[in-house]
């Protein structure tokens, strides 16, 4: 019997729900907040902003990150910008338009009320960041500058050169550092969460491993916030940082948190192509480049002439040709699929798996200096990786795994199906539907951390009677034992294959069978091969070193073990979702033009999976999506 999921979306008109909900929420008075302890796992935009805000309010906060500093979380790598419905350009933007673009961009698979709230608080984020000293790009008159991003016809993206994520994270990190200094936040760096502790059906703490000493430790709290990012590294090669992993959310899933829409993955269209077998990651080139870069391939198959020798008439600017209204700024899923399509036709450049992103026309129009001012650091990065000069020859790009829209299921309060366990940022599933628009990840992370959780956490803590708990509770002991047993098991197998080798092998299965285009046969093959690989892992893994030391092999082995379970759920979800929507493209479901074909009658819902004790045997629960304000149509960017 499937569980009924209550999204707890407040009643009333869309634009009044959040105000109403804030008013109706329980409060914790300032003097009482210090009596409540809160654990925040992860210190990217969502985690750092949440920890800083909650510390500032007076809660006793413990924050955790596996890096050596909270400033290194992978939000730091976001390049292009952050959306906000400021309408500073006077070009027709509004809260409703940002809401509408996000719902449409997500291919009508997101929850209306969450997305509208996101659009509402987007403007506060910019104000907050400016006040922190985030050096956003400015015009000569001193006001904030904007650029355009895919999926929008207004200019609403705020940016700090090509390092917007870095500057926003350093802003949140500075606020967090202040709270650490004030002793409102206790920071644990180089510490990885390995399990969540449930007592009386509520999340009451976590078990961690100190990555320097190997010590396994218990941490008690009244609420736990997971802000641990996405699961793109299940593909091995992605634009994610090396350490990004699914462990925190997967461990929570195994303790009762439903995992929603795991098959929704964003394949970013503009990444540097793969160079070879020993590659460890793919590097993104910001979508903002599509403001000034034109995407093309030769019209003829197998045309191996250098780009400069191919006359304009023999080039196919395929995005401009097929989508004249949005041109090179179509949403990411569409740009990616079209790049794949022209390469599959044999018209790819370089080694065949690349398309050009050409700045020649823009350089001619505005001059090289202006282009350097806009994208200098991105051009430098490209030159370092490829040893080519993009001012002179067009960039070569190809799609790569970048962001994951799926995540732990949360209600309107960002609470998972485990009471007291909240999930923020990329780690939850809530706001981007089946495809995320560019410059919206930063917006969501900071919205959740600065402006949503301070209210919804208060509502939980103020409205719940929590029994006192300490670290000697038997549940802590039992969970810690399980963590220790797992570590011991990983080290004891002493097989022949390294964690890296298993990770690569899983990545190949995922990319080939669950990548940009998916079909029934491929997904069924993945569902057979992933459990086989997992079986082999637990019999043949070779983890060197010991438990009580700095052991990066052990860290990776634990994460790969969880990916080997998660990948199976991913493929299962992709197989059951018999439609194409956003980043989920099933070959069986496409229009004659090769565009994604949704099935709103059968799949306008969130699939939320419930752990039942065995990998792959999860129960599929459904939250029907209700569209009261937006009419479901086929997305058109023509």
């Amino acid at each position: 019997m499937a569980t009924v999921l209550d999204s707890k979306v407040p009643s009333g008109p869309l634009g009044e729900k959040w105000e109403k909900h804030k008013f109706e929420s329980k409060l914790v008075n300032p003097a009482n907040r210090r009596k409540f302890s809160v654990i925040v796992v992860g210190t990217g935009l969502a985690g750092a902003s949440a920890a800083a805000s909650l510390g500032d309010m007076g809660y006793k906060v413990k924050a955790f990150c596996f890096q050596d500093s909270p400033r290194r979380a992978h939000s730091i790598a976001a390049q292009g910008g952050i959306n906000a419905a400021k309408n500073y350009r006077n070009d027709g933007d509004s809260t409703y338009r940002l809401f509408y673009d996000t719902i449409k961009g997500g291919d009508y698979r997101a929850r209306e009320a969450n997305v509208h709230r996101l659009a509402e608080v987007s403007t506060n984020i910019i104000d907050q960041c400016v006040a922190q000293g985030v050096p956003f790009a400015r015009e000569y008159g001193g006001l904030l500058d904007n650029r355009s991003f895919g999926g929008a016809q207004v200019s609403r993206t705020f940016y700090a050169r090509g390092q917007t994520g870095q500057q926003l994270l350093l802003g949140a990190y500075s606020a967090l550092s202040r709270q650490i200094h004030l002793k409102n936040v206790e920071m644990h760096t180089r510490t990885e969460m390995l399990d969540v502790v449930i007592i009386g059906g509520r999340a009451r703490g976590i078990i961690t491993r100190n990555l320097v000493t190997g010590a396994v430790e218990r941490h008690v709290a009244d609420a736990v916030l997971l802000c641990t990012g996405g699961y793109g590294n299940v593909f091995f090669l992605s634009t994610n940082a090396q350490g990004c992993n699914v462990t925190a959310t997967w461990r929570a899933h195994r303790r009762g948190a439903f995992f929603a829409n795991p098959c929704y993955t964003q394949i970013h269209p503009t990444c540097i192509p793969v160079h070879g077998e020993d590659q460890s990651k793919l590097t993104l080139m910001s979508e903002s480049l599509r403001n000034d870069g034109r995407v093309w391939v030769p019209k003829a198959k197998g045309d191996k002439r250098p780009a400069a020798d191919i006359p304009d008439a023999e080039r196919d600017y395929f995005l401009e040709r097929k989508y004249p209204a949005f041109g090179n700024l179509v949403p990411r899923d569409i740009a990616s699929r079209n790049a794949k399509e022209v390469c599959d036709e044999g018209r790819g450049v370089g080694d065949g798996q690349a398309v050009y992103l050409d700045f020649a026309a823009s350089i001619q129009r505005v001059g090289e200096d202006v282009i350097r001012d806009r994208y200098g650091n991105l051009f430098d990065m490209y030159a370092k990786i490829t040893a080519e000069n993009p001012y002179k020859t067009p960039m070569q790009i190809y799609p790569a795994v970048h962001y994951t829209m799926g995540g732990l299921w949360v209600d309107y309060n960002l609470q998972s199906t485990i009471p007291g366990l909240f999930v923020l940022g990329e780690a939850n599933f809530s706001d981007h539907g089946a495809n995320r628009l560019g410059a919206s990840a930063l917006m969501q992370g900071l919205a959740d951390g600065y402006f949503v959780i301070p209210y919804t956490l208060g509502n939980y803590l103020g409205g719940t009677k929590l029994d006192p708990v300490d670290a000697n509770a038997p549940e802590f002991g039992a969970t810690e034992n399980e963590v220790n047993e797992r570590v011991t098991k990983l080290l004891s197998i002493k097989g022949n294959k390294t964690p890296l080798a298993f990770h690569k092998e899983l990545g190949k299965i995922m990319w080939n069978d669950c990548g940009m285009a998916r079909n029934k046969a491929g997904l069924e093959s993945a569902l057979k091969r992933i459990p086989e690989l997992r079986e082999e892992f637990w019999n043949n893994i070779n983890v060197s070193g010991e438990a009580g030391e700095f052991n990066q092999q052990l860290e990776r082995a634990g994460r790969v073990a969880d990916f080997l379970e998660f990948g199976e759920l991913f493929a299962k979800d992709a197989l059951i979702r018999e439609e194409s929507c956003g980043g989920h493209f099933r070959e069986e479901h496409q229009t004659e033009e090769g565009e994604a074909k949704r099935d709103d009658d059968n799949f306008a819902h969130v699939a939320a999976y419930e752990w039942t004790g065995k990998s792959g045997a999860q129960t599929r629960n459904v939250e029907q999506l209700v569209f009261e304000n937006v009419k479901l149509t086929q997305r058109s960017y023509k």
């Binding site: 500093s69 200094h181 600065y450 080939n512 046969a521 990066q552 090769g594």
Partner: protein, 269 residues
């Protein structure tokens, strides 16, 4: 119009023939091995064959580690995360240079095409009193955290901020703030400095906020507190060698140190 098929392009890291592109190098590596903070370290030599010039330096270390594990040896510990030059987690002295031979480049963005076939490469951790070694090439940079915690922020809470356009900021000031704010906190400046000074790192944050109207209210205390923290944590002082600027992957300029010294005088007078 062709419809989609399930070949997803590159086989996720596999070029058509299963091998890496680029020229192949055979290398000798001299690597600092140190079991933990208290153990005595030493250089060890390893031979590594078939390193593609297209690989990044860290991918070369990955390859070395796979080889060491196969030989039953302990792999080399090294810090890394984003591998795109922005998180600041990676770093090592390569042939005596912080982050290796390339200008304005982190170690993860250093590529093996910068080395030649048959070369011997020495790889050591950052060396500074305030950065104790954790294991092999990984060091403890908590001291940088303490410097930021002592004042590297504008003391505001969440909420109540005025409209982002309420205070116009001249583009030149915003650009200068951004130049300084690009610091990734990797510690190369400290490692390269003969005095193990953290003045480039500290001054970058002071300078970033000093250029902005939002940073004015606490300008004096910020400089005083951050400089005091820097001194107490065991970093040395600047004697104008300029090594920090030369190795900085984000090209943070020494003029920030000059600015910081002026800020310090403001505190004194």
């Amino acid at each position: 119009m062709a419809t989609m098929t399930a070949t997803n392009g590159h086989a996720n890291g596999h070029s058509a023939d299963g091998h890496s592109k680029g020229k192949m190098l055979n290398l000798t590596l001299q690597v600092w091995r140190q079991k933990n903070a208290t153990a005595k370290g030493r250089m060890e030599e390893y031979k590594l064959k078939g390193v593609s010039t297209e690989m990044s330096f860290l991918e070369m270390l990955d390859m070395l580690n796979e080889q060491l594990i196969k030989e039953g040896k302990d792999p080399v510990a090294f810090d890394h995360d984003c591998r795109e030059g922005i998180c600041g987690m990676c770093g090592a002295m390569v042939n005596g240079y912080a982050h290796g031979p390339d200008e304005a480049t982190t170690l993860c963005q250093t590529h093996m095409r910068s080395f030649s076939d048959g070369e011997t490469i020495t790889i050591e951790p950052w060396r500074a009193k305030a950065f104790p070694v954790i294991k092999d090439l990984a060091v403890d940079r908590t001291s940088f955290e303490r410097i930021i915690q002592s004042g590297g922020y504008v003391s505001i809470g969440t909420g109540g901020a005025p409209d982002g356009n309420s205070i116009p900021i001249p583009k030149e000031a915003a650009d200068k703030a951004m130049d300084a704010a690009q610091c990734i906190g990797c510690g190369a400046c400290v490692a390269a400095c003969p005095n193990a000074s953290a003045m480039l790192f500290t001054s970058a944050k002071i300078s970033h906020l000093a250029h902005l109207p939002q940073g004015q209210v606490e300008r004096r205390e910020r400089a005083a507190n951050m400089i005091r923290a820097m001194d107490e944590l065991g970093f040395g002082n600047c004697t104008n060698h300029g090594e920090c600027e030369a190795v900085c992957p984000k090209e943070i300029k020494m003029e920030n140190i000059a600015l910081m010294n002026r800020e310090y005088f403001r505190v004194l007078v």
